[in-house]
Point group: D2
Chain length 344, copies 4
């Protein structure tokens, strides 16, 4: 099953690359930019100076550091002594995309999203995570014990390995599925949002769907869109229960595009199997509702579904995944299988 | 992908049947009971008279009617004129299992869960579903339009077909994955719970996981366990968004068992890929927490995981599915992949 | 302020008694019943045998034990060793009211609600309360320390006194405002509900509003209504944060009545200042919505408010109180000041 | 009751003014600033240029416009055609307070908060409010009808009057209790927050407690604190159910102060009767928890309560009010009666 999916993905990436090559011949101005970040941001904010200008069709090759600014490498290091919430999720960018104006949609084709380090870090931070009292679900209980886990990454085998000497199993080896924990654009209405929080502009959605091969759509709220990215995860379970995934730096290649005059309310994703919407708010049920309603609107407006047919169909074949339930806003991804879309 | 999964499932059922055959030779008292329901219940209640006594190891062959008591067969029939919420989900049972006492665990091996009708019904009921005001999320808005959809079922092709003349796609054909929307035991502390509500005793969890090939574990709260089942769905999306799946009657074969002295807090499921817990309450986040904490306890108590190792691992490889967000309590299923369990 | 309110209350009770005397002269059959409970119930259930038959207009004089069955009297007693959740809130009743049929409204005039003991008990139970992980908001944190507080009650001074030797203040003295923590009727649709849970039938609402001088209205779901009462609190703050109030036994006098053919969805209360609705569910926002929508419907149906006028007015003069956020369902009370009602 | 309260308030304001006069003689540098706003802000943002510098002890006399920028004055004007959510709640400020640094507490004594117009506006906006689908509680239902209500204000009689010709009552007259719907400081960590959203920095809390006579405490996150104010309400019910109060411009007099080295997590208020904390987040239960935990910490740190004594006492005498359940975050105010505080 996984082999098939993986092959399909490879084939899709191949097609994307082919498309790019094809474009190159027709678009004389297309350009590949190699950007090496010198500083990182902790807020999504239209007031930040863009680090680079891109044109629609351009390709960006860059890197991200991990959620802890690459400062943790040993299990005896405590994150609470090294980083200070919410100053985490150091972001690469912002990147200005020419022609992207409020009311448009910014398109990011994720051509490459790969760890570039042989370990990943996961932490249990005090008062962070969904199974303990935390900043907003404030409790009088004492925090859980703080822990730092160092996962070995084998990039050629595409696995992560964790020693668990205190557990009967001794150690586990899991497949990697690297993705951008955080990706988005400058927020609406002059707001500035910390890189720990997801919202309409994207940001810290912690969705496994924002991975190599996916296409991401964001509402443009500020001139140039001003997208940023970071918080790489080599793997993560649904909901990011303890508050962190396999945190690692990434190599990222993105092709940018703009859909003029196309206005959307929430980040939308697309891969070979699904069209998707990521809704972010608290409580979970409202993130769920936000995502589903936007998905139904998408089906009605772009794919010719009658409204109540769309509701019926999404009720029977819709897939929903909980992205995170640990950030200041939670993220739910509503997915509709592409095979039930009419041929365009 | 689906073919592989389907084959695995078939092989597992074959193994189960083999196990049964083997058991038969060794367990002289094992018995297969054919039960044809004459009346149905709308509450889970230890005060109901059991319809049949079973012994651990026995096999029950029976049927269920659909959530509407099989009373709807045409798209011009309005459910609101035919059924009266919450008098839906007619239950077959209760079945008394000898030796099952409070503090034990009742085991149901679902050997067969198959639709026995060539159509299924899905409705959009007024003030029901998650994308509209409903009984508890009370709103002042007018209800959505009521609708009845009749899905044709082809049991040999294992698909459901719906005509959508008002939508560009015209019609859809989806694979079936039949399951029991409602299954559980008599509740705790003398409570009686309508068959529309899921809780610690199971009930209307609306989980696609309670399907052919799965093994279900329920806490025993009353002598004999007193399990019931009904509300068959030929298919359903995550969350059961409009409030109904592909509602249909089922043929069900169950092998029952009892684990003496094993006490659990929430229904647990098991298939070839996962061990799972179904937590049911409102809001979603608390159903999520209930399921995850029970799953961590399971990993610690039965599989030798150190507590914080279990939290770390579940955070990285845990799968979570939203069962329903439309019933009086919502259901979330927390899943842990069996391949990360130590060999027993 | 409080003196004025208290006087108003006394006057209202005087009026009630006057009304009763007046009724006596016209209703030859009115009767006062003295009932001394011999057993108590832990569920609201239409299947319980009524302990007494009352006629509309009759007066019931009875007593309740405290939430712990009067078993705790010293601060060195731990509730977790003496009682077993949810077997608390021992209920007096059920009382059958002749002529009360499903679809009617049962009326309880609370003529007297007074503690009959010189101390009250409040406990901090492990995994109970809103500022700690609990049964449904399941957490991995260790529970808070268990505590038992014994409040001295001075009934003639109407105060409760608690020694706090570990706090700078040393001791506090607070005014009492005794009320029934739990009061309600047999639930709908054959459900049985533990006396720890509030819902449409009333039950464990833990509302300070259900006190001497108030009139309570309950939907009748079963023949005779079958009301019960218990869980006296001598005082309690909003939300019952730690999970218990000043738990004490009560002397209760109730005049019963029936409004034939009047159907309501949630318990309604009335005192000299407000008409009120108590909505109970999780999460809080849905208890809030349930109560407000029912209150708006009440204003529209009984008091001639246009629907959107009622919404506007409730938005500007509505008072909302959080009853409890610790029971399996939370209770919110929506209140509309009587002085903005048209004269009947 | 209200007369007494009102007198107490007047006396307290008299005392405040007396204190100011006294201060004047001793504090040669104290100054009264009259500020007439020329522009308004729609975000709380440390990057905004301050409009005025104040010293601790200084008094600010200024005005605010209403939530709609004073653009609505007739009931036939539709807000949806005049304003554009979230561009509402025009803020006066920001004001820089010398010596206020991150980690300090900014103090605002509200000496005067009075409407300066003879009418107030309340609207029912489409998809706004708690009893209808809205931005985050996204629904498929059609919005409620849009409405504009013009309340006549009589400032000498301190009442608001609304004609309700479609309702039996015909018209209502309610007492005014004017307050700042929005007041706060620049947010933490470089965030910028629209003036529709409350959070740790204050902002759009919509709390009736931020009224004349109250003292407000805010955590200082940016140099100078940079407080702003606006969104005057002449009156409002609990929760601001329809989404708006009696919106009106205000005359405001504030005395500012700084508590050096005092760090708080949430806005705190104080009046003659209560010490209070305003917690803002979704869902309600977490706003509730945030406020209560901060209030318990306050009792422990400043008033010498043992932790579990504080929990017990807050459970029995604590008052909780729902500020708003309509903004992007909800606000809950936890109150502790001052009469149970030890004498300092």
């Amino acid at each position: 099953m996984r082999i098939l999916a993986s092959n399909t993905k490879k084939f899709m990436i191949f097609l994307s690359l082919l498309a790019l090559l094809t474009n190159v011949s027709t678009t004389a101005t297309q350009k590949t930019h190699h950007f090496k970040p010198k500083k990182y941001y902790y807020t999504y904010d239209a007031k930040h100076e863009p680090v680079l200008n891109l044109k629609p069709g351009d390709i960006l090759v860059t890197t991200t550091v991990d959620a802890f600014g690459n400062k943790i490498s040993r299990s005896d290091q405590l994150a609470s002594e090294i980083i200070h919430l919410p100053k985490v999720n150091d972001q690469t960018g912002p990147f200005y995309v020419e022609g992207a104006e409020p009311g448009d949609t910014l398109v990011l084709h994720l051509l490459k999203v790969r760890p570039n380090r042989d370990y990943a870090v996961s932490t249990h931070l005090p008062n962070f995570g969904v199974l303990t009292g935390e900043t907003y679900t404030a409790m009088l209980n004492k925090p859980l014990p703080e822990k730092t886990f160092i996962w070995k990454l084998s990039l050629e085998k595409n696995v992560g390995i964790l020693d668990l000497p205190n557990s009967k199993i001794g150690k586990v080896e899991i497949p990697l599925h690297p993705f951008l924990g955080t990706v988005g654009v400058a927020p609406n209405f002059g707001e500035a949002v910390i890189s720990l929080t997801p919202a309409e502009h994207g940001g810290n959605m912690d969705c496994v769907e924002t991975k190599e091969g996916a296409t991401l759509y964001f509402p443009v709220f500020a001139e140039g869109g001003l997208f940023m990215l970071g918080d790489g995860h080599a793997a993560q379970g649904d909901g990011e229960i303890c508050g962190t995934g396999l945190e690692c730096p990434l190599e990222v290649t993105v092709k940018v595009d703009v859909i003029k005059g196309k206005s959307i309310n929430w980040p939308r994703f697309e891969d070979d199997e699904y069209i998707m919407v990521a809704g972010s708010t608290r409580p979970v049920i409202d993130a769920f509702r936000s995502a589903q309603v936007e998905l139904i609107n998408w089906l009605v407006e772009d794919y010719g579904f009658e409204r109540w047919d769309a509701l019926q169909l999404i009720s029977q074949v819709g897939v929903t995944r909980i992205g995170n339930v640990v950030d200041p806003k939670y993220t739910v991804v509503a997915k509709f299988p592409k095979r039930y879309l009419p041929v365009h």
